[in-house]
Symmetry: C2
Subunit: 339 residues, 2 copies
């Protein structure tokens, strides 16, 4: 390893250039694999760069080219298998593209999202991927001014900001309700987050209400599991708080599989039989629903595909194809052993 003259200063292309007696410009081309540079020269430069411990400065590149190489992504929570899968789908699809994901978490709050978007925009992302279709006016203003492609995911908003890759959370519940009705269940309860904080959860709730009404079932009872994000524990606590009279309902439709799992295990502790005394359904096809004995009736979503398709949209847009796309990845009802 060669020591550079001033040990505190970083090694730049200029240093490499001096070492091989070439111009920085040629070094720049060589390191990027430019074909116009003599192969032998390229090899020499590569070797010398490695020897000097040269590290490419993406910040300088981003500054010069006015392209950050970042794609900003907001997720409600990273501690959620489905959102994590979407992130992985994005990451995998973007690998090798030179684009790097800049992740922020909104904690299911549109106000936090607004703050986060402001912060992310100062990094000059080349595109922005937002989970959900609900935003504050200020967020919409920021995005309008930013003039970069925006993709909303996990929803099908009425008035998209740009592109969309998602599915209808409301429609997704129709099959679940139809299934329950076909089994003779009439008295339904919905267990989900209280506030307007979780818009996708609220959409599912509305979907259940609409589907029940359409099938002529009595009004659906709402059970409050607390503020989003609602967890396994929240589901279990809500049922435990109600006690054995939870079985006065025929079926408990839960906003997500973790909540359903909590409810299922709370029922067990109460000595209730699922689905004998009470049917339970979830949403999202989380691992816990599939592994649980009994297996939880759920709705499969295509979390990884949402990420992958969003990456496709990005590729299109960066290739100059700016027509707004709306991609519905759908969802599928998955009968289990709890209904």
């Amino acid at each position: 390893m060669t020591t550079n003259p001033d040990s505190t200063r970083r090694v730049t292309m200029r240093d490499v250039a001096r070492a091989v007696d070439m111009s920085p410009m040629t070094v720049s081309r060589a390191l990027r694999g430019d074909e116009t540079v003599n192969p032998k020269t390229r090899a020499t430069i590569r070797d010398k760069a490695a020897e000097l411990g040269y590290v490419y400065d993406t910040t300088a590149q981003a500054f010069r080219t006015q392209k950050s190489g970042f794609v900003a992504v907001t997720l409600p929570s990273i501690n959620n298998a489905n959102f994590a899968e979407t992130f992985r789908g994005l990451t995998d699809a973007l690998a090798g593209s030179g684009l790097q994901l800049l992740l922020g978490s909104t904690g299911y709050s549109v106000e936090k999202e607004e703050q986060l978007v402001g912060q992310l925009l100062t990094r000059n992302p080349e595109a922005l991927i937002l989970t959900g279709g609900h935003h504050t006016d200020e967020t919409r203003k920021l995005l309008g001014a930013a003039r970069i492609p925006v993709i909303e995911i996990w929803d099908l908003p009425d008035a998209p900001l740009g592109h969309v890759v998602g599915f209808s959370n409301a429609d997704a519940m129709a099959d679940t309700v139809a299934h329950l009705a076909s089994k003779g269940h009439r008295k339904l309860a919905f267990l989900g987050a209280s506030a307007v904080s979780d818009w996708r959860g609220a959409a599912r709730r509305d979907g259940v209400i609409a589907a029940a009404a359409k099938l002529g079932l009595p009004p659906v009872t709402m059970i409050d599991a607390g503020q989003a994000p609602v967890s396994m524990r929240d589901g279990a606590q809500a049922v435990a708080a109600i006690g054995p009279s939870i079985a006065d309902f025929d079926a408990l439709v839960c906003v997500s599989d973790p909540v359903a799992f909590g409810a299922l295990n709370a029922c067990r502790r109460l000595g209730l039989d699922v689905p004998g005394d009470l049917a339970i359904t979830g949403f999202g096809q989380f691992d816990v629903a599939m592994v649980s004995h009994p297996r939880i009736t759920t709705v499969a979503v295509h979390a990884n595909e949402i990420g992958a398709r969003a990456a496709d949209v990005l590729r299109d847009v960066f290739a100059g194809n700016n027509a707004p796309q709306v991609i519905d990845v759908g969802s599928e009802f998955q009968p289990g052993e709890t209904s």
Copy 2:
């Protein structure tokens, strides 16, 4: 909203300066809230900046000051409640510090980690937080050359790269094994990932073997649940593949709670009683362990605290306190209903 002369060009401090008839330097100071700028001037500049839709360019700042404002973090997987909690602990503790996290996922592979570290370093992070204490030689070389603070988390490496915030995965298993032995269980099996890919899992395995030997128990049988990351499904499949003879063991020590949950439910499907026929233990105090009926015996880790303490270390280091710190956050055995 005022239109700027060339609508495709971004609004810069110079534009704001011209608009208020001041120098860019004063605008820079004003926007950063520099006290030496006349309060009235500051207000004027702020207003005009907002009016022009000025967005601060962090890339340019990062370039000029040679400080990126990034802290790079590698996690084995983001789809893991404990790692996600650590990330959240970091995020929360760093909020308002002006530092932004740059997240990368290694997929439990040190080779992928090496690649990722190389990529992250081109963004000039001011510090690097690595999950785990095992790295390739090339990774160590890269880190040495980068001359930035490094924190290894979730482990207590023998030869740390810099700072450490973690706990001993091996020691954490001693209480679990002692508990099982005290209940009269002698024939133990360990269910975890096969390869060397999951070093923390391997440390737990070694911890079980060592603790069993120390207590005079017969050799521990290893059961292979496949490549890391091992999931609920892997745990369930491993037990299903073995069948009822799994109950020839007294206790099944699992590398994590999700694996234990999978094993528990597979046992149920086999008609086995847990803990009557077989005791089961997990690791990590995941929600699923606490909500499950029966509750799974586990080990509580301080995932959020790891993140928070790592942020403390960063603050210290940036304040000039460079002495290497090793912080052991420990772990606690949590008896449940499966043992």
